[in-house]
């Protein structure tokens, strides 16, 4: 266990420090250009020029809408999801589709799924692809989630599709979790993944998305996936692999060879940076009125002719 600090003065200092650290990762939008596995940061304001123009298509990732959550710091998660969709709808270049990387709901309740479905109709995108979070599979191992939002390609719920030369893979890592463990893909899904990727040329850009991080962000809080290393061993031969996850309600990134890992912000509430609080619960210690700087959406653009993807973060505020 982490050492607890019961001194109130220290608590105040720690809270302030925690807030500043969190502000550092909330920040304003940043454009990430990925070229040959190396990330280059650009200010979002500089996006209007050539970098945006050479994109052949784009898609947007949203995550962790937690419909049904109603406590501090966000008693109205429907409103912030709506604001996220409005942000996407207002863009001049429309995304080809949306990805929702899980925790659509807070407690897997039918009325929460109903609300989520209703609000998602407001998105001006032809389609949304979903993977479940652990909050979406409570009590029924995801039966209701898969019935409503599944692609129904494979019995286990995982799927893949090709879009304008990019191969997309949606993985499920929130079922059959074991005591003391992290997220889990399981032998059946890994066998399918190996086969799914086998026929692709190494030049094919690959985007893998799943709810829990497919890399070990912070084991003390269970932020990882037990058997993700096996999945990564199948992906290492590709020239450009982007792994998009949710779950931890903040942006964290890591580059490992040609594989770049990203976690997304939530549209509902932020969680503390790894180890910066006693537990990974909702981050409440935020300045009044600043919630929207912690929430946001992610746009990913395919850069024409470069087999590269550019990732742009956008906050609600």
């Amino acid at each position: 266990m982490s050492d607890h600090d019961d001194n109130h003065d220290h608590d105040a200092v720690r809270g302030r420090r925690q807030f500043l650290q969190c502000m550092a990762w909330a920040g304003a939008g940043t454009l990430w250009l990925m070229k040959g596995g190396v990330l280059q940061a650009h200010a979002l304001d500089g996006l209007a020029g050539g970098e945006a123009a050479d994109a052949s298509f784009s898609f947007v990732q949203i995550s962790d809408s937690h419909i049904g959550f109603h406590k501090e710091p966000n008693p109205d998660v429907v409103a912030t999801l709506r604001a996220s969709l409005a942000k996407i709808n207002a863009r001049s270049s429309k995304p080809d589709f949306l990805l929702h990387t899980g925790d659509l709901t807070h407690l897997s309740k039918a009325e929460e799924f109903d609300t989520l479905s209703g609000v998602m109709q407001e998105a001006k995108a032809p389609q949304t692809f979903y993977v479940p979070g652990e909050h979406d599979v409570i009590g029924d191992n995801g039966a209701e989630f898969f019935r409503r939002f599944g692609q129904k390609q494979q019995g286990g719920g995982w799927y893949s599709f090709d879009h304008r030369g990019v191969h997309f893979v949606g993985l499920i890592n929130v079922l059959n979790l074991k005591a003391g463990g992290f997220g889990s893909l399981g032998a059946d899904q890994l066998a399918w993944l190996k086969q799914d990727l086998a026929g692709l040329s190494a030049e094919t850009p690959v985007v893998v998305f799943a709810h829990m991080p497919l890399w070990t962000v912070y084991p003390q809080w269970g932020w990882g996936t037990d058997d993700s290393a096996e999945a990564m061993s199948y992906l290492r031969r590709f020239g450009s692999v982007s792994v998009l996850n949710g779950h931890i309600h903040q942006i964290q990134q890591k580059v490992e060879g040609k594989i770049t890992f990203y976690t997304a912000r939530s549209t509902a509430y932020p969680q503390p940076a790894p180890g910066k609080a006693d537990a990974p619960g909702p981050l409440k210690d935020i300045k009044p009125g600043s919630l929207q700087t912690y929430l946001g959406v992610r746009e990913v653009r395919h850069v024409r002719g470069k087999q590269a993807l550019a990732v742009t973060e956008e906050v609600l505020a």
Partner: protein, 112 residues
């Protein structure tokens, strides 16, 4: 003075009831509590007499679920803030459990 004596007697009876399990003097089932706070079960390991009813209470803002490793006792539903879940442990043994949505949260009930 008599008030203090009554208090000590009540305490002694309480301890006896905990030790005696379901056959306790009042015929009531002994109860033991586990608090869920800061994404942890407290106490993480709890030892009780056979027949004790164990009550979990979620003190976090996040939901938690009590799930038996190896399905040896019934799982709870999703417990929101201040929700409780209780089950009676009749047979001696060591029962490992975890939270199915935060599986790094683990606990043990040892029934003697």
């Amino acid at each position: 003075m008599s008030g203090a004596r009554a208090w000590w007697r009540a305490l002694a009876l309480g301890v006896a009831a905990l030790g005696a399990g379901p056959a306790g003097a009042a015929g009531k089932v002994a109860e033991a509590k586990v608090e869920i706070k800061h994404f942890a079960f407290m106490p993480e390991a709890l030892t009780v007499a056979a027949g004790t009813r164990v009550v979990w209470t979620n003190r976090d803002d996040e939901p938690h679920i009590v799930v038996s490793a190896g399905n040896r006792f019934a799982s709870s539903k999703a417990m929101d803030t201040d929700d409780t879940y209780a089950t009676v442990f009749d047979k001696p043994g060591t029962y490992a459990y975890f939270c199915s949505i935060h599986p790094h949260m683990v606990g043990t009930i040892i029934v003697r």
